[in-house]
């Protein structure tokens, strides 16, 4: 009896209080709430005034109609057939202003002309590629009164879509398409991200797949290679693609993709998988390609993607590196919460030489260091304690600031460094980090290179270009083109340079911080120094602002976006892990870098 009472008491006590122990369980991921504001387009009301028609049409452009059906209800005549909304998207600083202007003919009750004005900030072209733009926007919209119903409708209008910046950010989302770089390193395929903008609410999966099949955007096209045979498209009649319950997406292709080899097919699937995972990180785990008759060509799971291709160079960095107070290269593990810097093995960490800055190869076997005065570049192993030997590059610059910049390794183990000698400004590349440096031709470059960082894919390079006056500097991204010469040499050139941060007057430091993202420290004209992310196409990515930091000299970020930022600021070497504040690592140090 007493035992029974005891057991009952224990059971009751267990039920009547909150548990303080228990078994372990997985937390089920709940889908993030969609907090987006939606604009519902309304069809034109009866007997609407011309100004209402124009405003309603502009409103409808910002809605989520898949094919702008509601917007088309405002059109009439030729505009109905000729207007192509996907031709381009013009982004204005604010929404377009409209003014009624006197028509060319007499002011009449049968037609009206409205002028749309605004300040352009960007343009998304037919390939969905974003491109910063400047200047004023002036277009006219012509309205006519329909004869049969007496309603006002638009019969002439500019091609494409126009909207304000905030509407653009609400309606569109930036996603990376992935292509293979035509330059491949031994065995492994490198990929390059090709950012595009798609409409957020209008079946982005299908949009992305279609865009991926169409090939890389114009800027990246010369150096990117797609795995899909040319002409490959979704099978006719396929309207929408949706992952099934097992997060598997089946992509039916047309007959161009028939009879592809197995490894080719894997490449295609890897491209799709990388692309879709960028769109929705947990949404797709497996991609299956289907031939014209529904035959399964191949399928690729998430776990096998790495075997086919990887983001950028494919190595995950293990350490962060910086120059310690004693001018030696030290490192610290990337993921430790309380890092303790230690000297790197090898001559850069233990030799007699003092260094100003350094760069570590992406496989973390070798490192390149610029001597304290900036005149010499050494390359040494991180594995063995061999001596450094002779410098591989020497600069003749007069002052310390006119000598070598911080070097950078790309994914093919080529080492890049710029010489700031005013008499002989040059950009050098050392194939495999050794041998005779190749001078890179920079036909479009106008000014001195202040910093150089090569992307892991080896086909994009980010440069900080200092104007001749020495005050203003801008961030440029260029494409690296290698052309094999007749004698085995390759001519390397950087073309199609474009400004990523047209608004920044002075750019102090930058680093790659993702497949198509850079972190930039700079100053707008009349502003203060700020640090922010920027897409390579010049747009501002979504996401939280970076915590402010003053006096940033150098910054380092990894292309793995989960790794912390490391900066050299007034407070020494500081680190910013995601979700926390800046934290000091050491008080004195300089030139923090991630491998690359």
């Amino acid at each position: 009896m007493a035992v029974c009472a005891g057991v009952a008491a224990v059971l009751l006590a267990g039920c009547a209080s909150m548990p303080d122990s228990g078994d372990l369980r997985d937390v089920e991921s709940t889908p993030r709430q969609d907090a987006q504001v939606r604009v519902f387009a309304l069809p034109p009301p009866d007997d609407a005034a011309p100004s209402e028609i124009v405003q309603g049409f502009l409103e409808a452009l910002t809605s989520d109609d898949p094919n702008y059906e509601t917007a088309r209800k405002y059109l009439a005549g030729d505009a109905l057939t000729e207007w192509r909304p996907d031709a381009s998207t013009t982004v204005l600083a604010e929404g377009p202003n409209r003014y009624a202007v006197a028509s060319r003919t007499q002011e009449s009750d049968e037609e009206r002309v409205y002028r749309l004005t605004g300040e352009k900030t960007a343009r998304v072209d037919a390939q969905n590629a974003y491109e910063p733009a400047e200047g004023s926007y002036r277009e006219t919209v012509h309205l006519t009164r329909l004869e049969d119903s007496g309603q006002w409708r638009i019969d002439q209008l500019p091609q494409g879509v126009v909207m304000g910046k905030s509407d653009f950010q609400r309606t569109y989302v930036s996603v990376n398409k992935y292509y293979f770089t035509s330059a491949t390193r031994s065995g492994q395929l490198g990929t390059v991200a090709d950012p595009i903008y798609v409409r957020r609410q209008v079946d982005p999966v299908t949009q992305m797949v279609r865009s991926l099949l169409q090939g890389p955007t114009r800027w990246l096209d010369p150096v990117a290679r797609t795995g899909f045979p040319s002409g490959t498209a979704l099978r006719e009649g396929v309207e929408s693609l949706t992952p099934d319950d097992q997060n598997k997406l089946t992509v039916p292709l047309n007959d161009k993709a028939d009879h592809v080899a197995r490894d080719k097919c894997d490449e295609m699937a890897a491209q799709l998988l990388l692309t879709l995972q960028d769109l929705m990180p947990t949404g797709v785990d497996e991609v299956e390609l289907q031939g014209p008759e529904g035959k399964k060509l191949c399928s690729l799971g998430e776990d096998r993607t790495d075997a086919v291709a990887a983001h950028g160079a494919g190595n995950d960095p293990e350490f962060e590196y910086f120059i310690a107070e004693d001018k030696r290269l030290v490192r610290m593990p990337v993921r430790s919460s309380a890092p303790a810097p230690e000297a790197v093995p090898g001559a850069l960490g233990a030799g007699d030489m003092s260094f100003r800055s350094a760069a570590v190869a992406r496989d973390e076997d070798r490192a390149a260091g610029v001597s304290l005065d900036g005149s010499d570049l050494y390359v040494g192993s991180l594995a063995t304690a061999s001596s450094l030997g002779e410098p591989v590059v020497h600069s003749e610059g007069q002052t310390e600031g006119d000598r070598l910049t911080t070097p950078s390794w790309d994914g093919r183990n080529d080492l890049w460094v710029a010489d700031r000698d005013p008499d002989n400004p040059r950009l050098l590349m050392l194939r495999n980090g050794e041998g005779e440096p190749v001078e890179v031709t920079t036909p479009e470059l106008d000014g001195r290179i202040k910093a150089v960082r090569v992307a892991a894919d080896g086909v994009r390079i980010a440069l900080i270009l200092e104007q001749d006056d020495g005050k203003s500097s801008s961030l440029l991204v260029g494409r690296i083109e290698r052309e094999s010469g007749g004698s085995g040499d390759t001519a390397v050139s950087i073309v199609d340079l474009r400004s990523v941060t047209p608004r920044l007057e002075e750019v102090r430091a930058m680093s790659w911080a993702g497949d198509s993202r850079l972190v930039v420290v700079g100053r707008e004209s009349g502003g203060v120094q700020q640090m922010r992310y920027v897409q390579v196409d010049g747009s501002t990515p979504d996401g939280p602002e970076l915590a402010a930091l003053t006096g940033v000299q150098e910054i380092a970020a990894s292309e793995d976006e989960s790794l912390p930022l490391v900066a050299h600021s007034e407070d020494g070497i500081v680190r910013l892990s995601s979700g926390s504040q800046w934290q000091q690592v050491v008080e004195n140090g300089a030139a923090p870098v991630y491998p690359g």
């Binding site: 709430q33 969609d34 907090a35 987006q36 504001v37 939606r38 604009v39 519902f40 387009a41 309304l42 009301p45 609407a48 100004s51 209402e52 028609i53 405003q55 309603g56 502009l58 409103e59 409808a60 910002t62 809605s63 604010e94 929404g95 377009p96 202003n97 409209r98 003014y99 009624a100 909207m163 304000g164 905030s166 509407d167 609400r170």
Partner: protein, 702 residues
């Protein structure tokens, strides 16, 4: 009036519509009540006629069939319901507790719901009001910021209201992700309000914002609050929610409608938690109460059931049965009292039995003891009697009287002895096959002298064939002699007819006289000991008063019946029915108790009267199984007045056709009742047989 019934029927009055004789007052009372009931019944009938029963259910055989088909499986349940008090109590308890739990649940859930809603409404109200204020402040600041810049031809300071509105919704809704959503709608009659609706969080504005709320907000009277069901465009399930709306001005001074939607998801969850808890608790409470009721009723009902069983056995005569008594509670007290009662009953019955045995013994002893001195007295009296010629006339007359009374005394003593033998159960039947004709002949010839004296002729009918039965010749002769002598004595000089008949397993002898007959009720009393037809008549004449009693006992000893019938002034008939073989139960008699030449039969004109031979040949057993027989046995018709029948007392021999009033004259109308029942010939006979069968049963049960 049904005619006859068993001589010793224990009290079945039979299906008689009324019984006017002897129970006049009662009869009148019952007639009154019946009249009342009749009028009530007629009212009922009217209702039924106009109502559904007569025209609906009873009118349609299909419906009745359906009703029966529906009711049939329910019948066992209904019987169980009627008979099982435990089931009734438990079911009632369950129903009542269920009702209370439901009521309680409604009240509690209602209160919790109101409390949750109140809290939510208060919190949401302040949030929404803040939002409305923020929206108008935003509009003012935007208007001020743009006021200095270019003014468009319409005079609106801000051109891009649409974009401003999107940003406003974004900023307002970012404050409470998941907690609320914001919707803006263009005001219906706004001059330039062509901007489309905006909604955060995937709210489907058209279905979520009710039209009447839109109209009300459109009047611009202030913030309005309502409830709605918010539905989403992104596939989330719709939810009940609280909605606040207000008309606010945009930077251009045009009105638009701003709505705050607060989904009541958490409140719904809390409420369903409460509901689940209450339902579980209610279920448990109901089951618990049912179990408690079952247990309690079981504790009470079990002893009651036991007591009922014991009482049934006691009433069946097993007086030694007792209840088991445990404990000291009320049930135990009941059991003790019950046992005491049973014990007292047993004791009293025992005492009564002892007493009656003692009395019988006493009578027998007294008879024996009187015999010896009587012999001496007899001898002395004989001497005196023979010498009476020598006495003076007065003394001689005394001597004759002495001898006469001594004869009577002797026969009385013999009869007493005989009766006491019957009472003691010492009478033994010496049955052998005898021809009743011979017995009858002996009896008739023995009674001839008396008959001659009375001027009576004794006729014997039905003696063409031998009528053989297994019987004690001496006893049968005694019975018949008694009957014939009685008939001659009371026959007033008219003929006495002795009829013999045999049919089925029975033989019968009926003795018919046409004398004074019997008054109603006397047919039973004639068999009582020391009963005399005419108390005024001196006891000097006639027998001892025990003759018919002994005859009845003799008939019983044979397993037969002795019954009497009579009508005042119409004579009487005594019928002895014996089984053809001893120990064979009687099912009927070959001769009807009421003779065909009775006044009622004669009054009917004899049209329906069947020939006597046919009556005798009808097999009694077959007739007994007939349908009319069953109706006779079956339950009493509702209209019958169950009046007590003084003639149907235990031990009564017969029933006399009662007279409506008095006995002086016999109104034919009164006889009609009997005659009506008498009609029907063989069937009627079968009915007789069945009733007699019942009587036979009664005899054997004794």
């Amino acid at each position: 009036m049904s005619g006859d019934s068993a001589a010793s029927a224990p009290g079945r009055p039979g299906p008689r519509p009324e019984r006017p004789v002897g129970v006049n007052a009662e009869s009148a009372g019952t007639q009154e009540s019946r009249k009342a009931r009749g009028s009530r019944g007629s009212r009922w009938g009217r209702i039924l006629d106009s109502g559904l029963l007569q025209g609906g259910v009873q009118g349609s055989p299909v419906l009745r069939l359906v009703m029966r088909w529906v009711r049939r499986p329910l019948l066992p349940t209904m019987r169980l319901w009627r008979r099982n008090i435990q089931l009734r109590v438990v079911v009632t308890t369950l129903l009542m507790s269920l009702g209370v739990v439901l009521l309680l649940g409604f009240v509690v859930i209602g209160q919790v719901r109101n409390g949750l809603l109140d809290a939510k409404v208060k919190a949401s109200q302040s949030q929404a009001t803040g939002g409305f204020t923020a929206a108008s402040q935003e509009a003012d600041s935007a208007a001020n910021a743009a006021g200095s810049e270019s003014v468009d031809p319409d005079g609106n300071p801000v051109q891009n209201v649409g974009e401003w509105m999107s940003n406003l919704v974004q900023s307002l809704s970012s404050g409470g992700q998941g907690a609320f959503d914001v919707v803006t709608l263009a005001d219906g009659d706004s001059s330039s309000g062509a901007f489309g609706p905006r909604a955060s969080g995937g709210v489907d504005w058209e279905r979520s914002v009710p039209a009447d709320l839109r109209d009300r907000v459109g009047t611009g009277t202030g913030a309005v609050q309502s409830y709605t069901r918010v539905s989403y465009t992104n596939g989330r399930p719709s939810q009940p929610s609280l909605i606040f709306g207000k008309q606010v001005n945009d930077p251009n001074g045009d009105a638009y409608q701003l709505y705050y939607l607060f989904p009541l998801t958490q409140e719904e969850k809390s409420l369903s938690l409460v509901k689940g808890t209450l339902a579980t608790a209610g279920l448990f409470v109901t089951v618990l109460l049912g179990a408690i009721a079952w247990l309690v009723v079981r504790q009470v009902v079990t002893p009651v059931r036991m007591a009922a069983g014991i009482a049934e056995r006691l009433s069946a005569g097993r007086l030694q049965e007792r209840m088991k008594v445990t404990g000291e509670d009320d049930i135990a007290r009941l059991g003790e009292a019950f046992n005491k009662m049973a014990q007292n009953l047993q004791l009293k019955i025992q005492q009564l039995e002892d007493l009656s045995r003692m009395q019988r013994r006493f009578v027998s002893d007294v008879s024996h003891e009187l015999r010896t001195p009587l012999t001496t007295v007899r001898m002395a009296a004989d001497v005196i009697h023979e010498a009476r010629v020598d006495f003076d006339p007065v003394t001689a007359r005394s001597a004759e009287l002495l001898a006469d009374q001594l004869d009577r005394f002797e026969s009385l003593l013999a009869d007493l002895l005989e009766i006491s033998r019957f009472d003691a159960g010492a009478a033994a039947l010496e049955a052998e096959p005898i021809d009743l004709r011979e017995v009858v002949r002996r009896v008739v010839s023995g009674a001839e002298p008396l008959a001659e004296r009375k001027g009576t002729r004794i006729r014997v009918t039905g003696d063409q064939q031998p009528i053989v039965a297994e019987a004690d010749a001496r006893r049968v002769e005694r019975v018949l002699r008694n009957l014939v002598v009685n008939a001659v004595e009371h026959g007033e000089g008219k003929d006495v007819v002795v009829r013999l008949a045999a049919a089925g397993g029975a033989v019968a002898v009926a003795v018919r006289d046409y004398g004074v007959g019997l008054k109603p009720g006397e047919a039973t009393r004639v068999f009582s000991r020391f009963w005399r037809a005419d108390p005024a008549r001196a006891r000097t004449t006639g027998g001892t008063g025990l003759g018919l009693s002994i005859a009845l006992e003799d008939a019983r000893l044979h397993g037969g019946w002795l019954q009497a019938w009579g009508e005042p002034g119409g004579g009487s008939q005594f019928r002895l029915t014996l089984p053809r073989t001893a120990d064979e139960p009687l099912r009927g008699s070959p001769i009807p108790l009421e003779p065909k030449d009775s006044r009622s039969s004669r009054a009917s004109g004899g049209a329906g009267a069947p020939p006597g031979g046919k009556l005798a040949t009808v097999p009694v057993q077959a007739a007994g199984a007939d349908a009319p027989a069953r109706t006779a046995i079956g339950p009493r018709p509702a209209g019958t007045v169950p009046a007590a029948d003084p003639t149907a007392l235990p031990g009564s021999g017969a029933r006399v056709v009662p007279r409506p009033t008095g006995s002086a004259h016999v109104p034919t109308g009164g006889e009609r009742d009997g005659e009506r029942v008498r009609d029907g010939g063989p069937e009627q006979y079968g009915r007789d047989g069945s009733e007699q069968y019942e009587q036979g049963e009664a005899f054997r049960g004794r």
